[in-house]
Amino acid sequence: LIETHELHDSQARDTGTELGRVRVHLFGILQTRAGKKRLTVEQKPGLTLKELFRQLAYEYDEGFISAGDSYPGPFMASAVILNGNTLRMPEDLHRTLNDGDELYLIAPIGGGWDASCS
């Protein structure tokens, strides 16, 4: 992962590879857990959304594992938007990400949902 606070990701790290990049915009509890508003993720060939969430979970917080859960899930994103289009969860978890993709993980409104709710 390449971590950036704002839009300076192109200077964040010289990877020396031809890997693409996916920019991830975080909100609410997901932003709090990551400690950042935006991340840039190396886009290895064939990287899926599910794998990206795993990477975020490994790097930041295990809550990201469930970011793409169907309703309801702890710390899930209440909407996952890729390049301006809302994805269907969990059906789109196996969708492959491409260089230059913009991903918005919209946090729950109103406190979210945790295990004690169900």
């Binding site: 169907s70 919209i106 109103g110 406190g111 004690s116």
Partner: protein, 622 residues
């Protein structure tokens, strides 16, 4: 009687008479207080068809069973009556300190009828209530009014008042408490204005009798411990509702460009009016009475054209409606517009929505600079937004028409009806049903239309829930089969609000605790099932109010922009349209209401203990 004073004030403004009634335990147990109690009293004392701005409209200020008791989040007062904005049942609630003060003054609620010859205010203090002359206050804004009354009556006096917008009976006028806490919706500030009732002021130090005070304190302590451990509470304390202005704009939850834009395309700079960029103007935290969350704040803009000395926070709704929905990225102008609404006593949602209507009319050539005192109503023009808000507040120029709200203004301006984005006459808040589909049906089926706080299942669609309630997984875009779940969640909401609870607090507390809390406060054995039944009773009664008015409750209008008819061809909400008819039929069915007309069946009303209401509205069947 524990948990209530069993004392309700009735002030006849035409005669100046103030009386106290003791309605007895059943009314309190059946309705829990709040707008439930308000609906029962107004339904039983008011004939149908009254002019909402006439002497016969009864206006109530209610508290709730848990207000004044040591219960976290029980801080709300609800104002209720027939709405001049929608001609339906109307209610609006606010936090702060007023509700607690009214209970400490020894009363559970106060109702006003008639019209005063001259401006008056009601002063309630330690078991006494008196109408006082308010001529010197008439014309003052809400900040001046509150300061004047506090100077005369003491800093402990809590004030709910109208400003010039209520005095000039703007149908989008709010009732303001504590420099910007607002009972804003339903246009009830105009009802106060029509009655020449400038303010209700209350103070007192009477301890509410409780069944088991020690147990109530124990439960409060347990809840405080639980809230301290809740990660979301810390974030909510820091940001409050402005945490999600940007994310809601990007997701499609928040409307953009009068509900016709796409946030990521038309307003990608939404972060400028969200979270950290808003709270940097906060110089003091604000908590409602004994609230540990303290999501509010007092705001200041030091200098410049939008300088503001001190006002309550511009919440999510205000930022969304004065910001994203107008493509306005100047956060200081939003704080200023919020302050104008607070001072003059306007609902920020309805006002900003009506400003957006005017902007689109300008874009379409239906308004020109000749109509707008030279203002160029171009999207994102923050100066025009602030000036037009002032014109509405003062009924100056085109503001005189816009002060009637967007539905009336659209009719007068001859614009396509869908440009005025409302439900049943009330401007829609900043939650798009295409993002959380249950808002569509709740905006039109709930007896007070266009209200996001009648939230029900939409709460889950936004990603949250009521803690401890047994709830299934849902797919928010699977519309069919949700009526029963929505009804259950709405019923709990009605019970919670009627007890005086805050939407931002009660969902965080395990739902099973409320029975224990109610028992500690009142001594009643009150199960969760009974609470749900009470919620259903409250809603059926409000629905009956509308039916008795002769309204066609099953065909309440909602702007097709909000339901995706036609669907968007771009953005996160692309292709989504909501089948409101299906939602409505299912919700009616779940409630035991006629699936075509929305009338609660006789058996449903009888099961809810509303025999008089059943006789009333089914007697009309002939």
């Amino acid at each position: 009687m524990n948990g209530n004073w069993n004392k309700i004030l009735f002030a006849n403004l035409s005669t100046g008479e103030v009386t106290v009634e003791e309605p007895g335990d059943k009314l309190y147990r059946d309705f829990l207080g709040g707008y439930g109690l308000g609906a029962q009293i107004i339904y039983s004392r008011q004939r149908p068809g009254v002019d909402p701005l006439g002497p016969d409209n009864v206006l109530g200020f209610t508290t709730g069973l848990l207000v004044g008791a040591p219960v976290v989040g029980a801080t709300r007062f609800t104002v209720c009556g027939k709405s001049p904005l929608t001609n339906t049942w109307g209610d609006a609630n606010s936090g702060g300190y007023f509700a607690t003060a009214l209970r400490r003054a020894g009363f559970d609620a106060v109702f006003f009828s008639g019209v005063a010859d001259e401006p008056v205010y009601l002063y309630v203090n330690d078991g006494e209530a008196v109408l006082r002359e308010a001529g010197a206050l008439w014309g003052k804004d809400t900040f001046e009014t509150e300061a004047t009354l506090k100077a005369q009556l003491g800093e402990d006096a809590q004030v709910a008042c109208i400003g010039p917008a209520g005095e000039n009976v703007s149908r989008i006028a709010a009732i303001i408490h504590d420099r910007g806490r607002a009972a804003a919706r339903s246009g009830l500030g105009a009802v106060m204005g029509s009655k020449r009732l400038k303010a209700v002021v209350t103070s007192g130090a009477l301890p509410l009798p409780l069944a088991d005070e020690a147990r109530a304190e124990e439960l409060r302590t347990a809840i405080l411990r639980r809230l301290r451990e809740d990660e979301s509470v810390a974030a909510f304390r820091k940001y409050g509702t402005v945490s999600h202005v940007a994310s809601s704009t990007f997701s499609g939850d928040c409307p953009v460009k009068n509900w016709d834009g796409v946030g990521l395309v038309d307003f990608p700079q939404a972060e400028l009016i969200s979270d950290d960029n808003v709270i940097k103007y906060e110089f003091k935290k604000y908590a409602c009475y004994r609230c540990p969350i303290a999501c509010g704040g007092i705001y200041k803009v030091e200098e410049g054209p939008y300088a503001v000395e001190a006002t309550q926070k511009a919440e999510y709704e205000t930022c969304g409606m004065f910001g994203s929905n107008l493509l306005n990225d100047d956060v200081e102008s939003i704080i200023k517009a919020n302050e104008i609404c607070n001072r003059y006593g306007l609902d920020t949602i309805s006002t900003a929505a009506t400003v957006a209507l005017a902007f689109e009319c300008y874009e379409r050539g239906l308004l020109t600079e000749d109509d707008t005192a030279g203002l160029g109503l171009t999207w994102g023009n923050s100066e025009a937004i602030v000036h037009l808000t002032e014109m509405i507040a003062r009924r100056e120029g085109i503001g005189d028409l816009l002060a009637e709200g967007s539905m009336v203004a659209a009719q007068e301006l001859g614009v396509d009806p869908d440009v005025a984005v409302h439900a049943g006459g009330q401007e829609l808040p900043a939650h798009d049903p295409r993002y959380a589909p249950t808002f569509a049906v709740n905006y039109v089926v709930e007896p007070t239309p266009g209200r996001h706080t009648q939230i029900g299942l939409a709460h889950m669609e936004l990603g949250s829930a009521i803690r401890g309630m047994d709830l299934p997984e849902i797919d928010k875009y699977q519309i069919e089969g949700k009526g029963e779940l929505n009804a259950r969640l709405l019923d709990f909401t009605h019970a919670a609000y009627s007890m005086g609870l805050c939407l931002f607090v009660y969902p965080r507390i395990d739902v099973q605790m409320w029975s224990e809390i109610v028992e500690a406060v009142s001594g009643w054995d009150y199960s969760l099932d009974e609470m749900l039944e009470t919620g259903a009773r409250i809603n059926a009664l409000r629905q009956a109010f509308n039916i008795r008015e002769g309204l066609d409750v099953s065909s309440v209008y909602i702007s097709p922009r909000a339901t995706g008819h036609p669907p968007d061809d771009r953005g996160p909400l692309k292709g989504i349209s909501i089948d409101v008819d299906l939602q409505r039929r299912e919700l009616y069915e779940a409630r035991g209401w006629d699936t075509q007309t929305g009338k609660p069946s006789r058996s449903t009303l009888l099961n809810l203990g509303l025999k008089d209401v059943a006789d009333d509205i089914h007697g009309m069947d002939g």
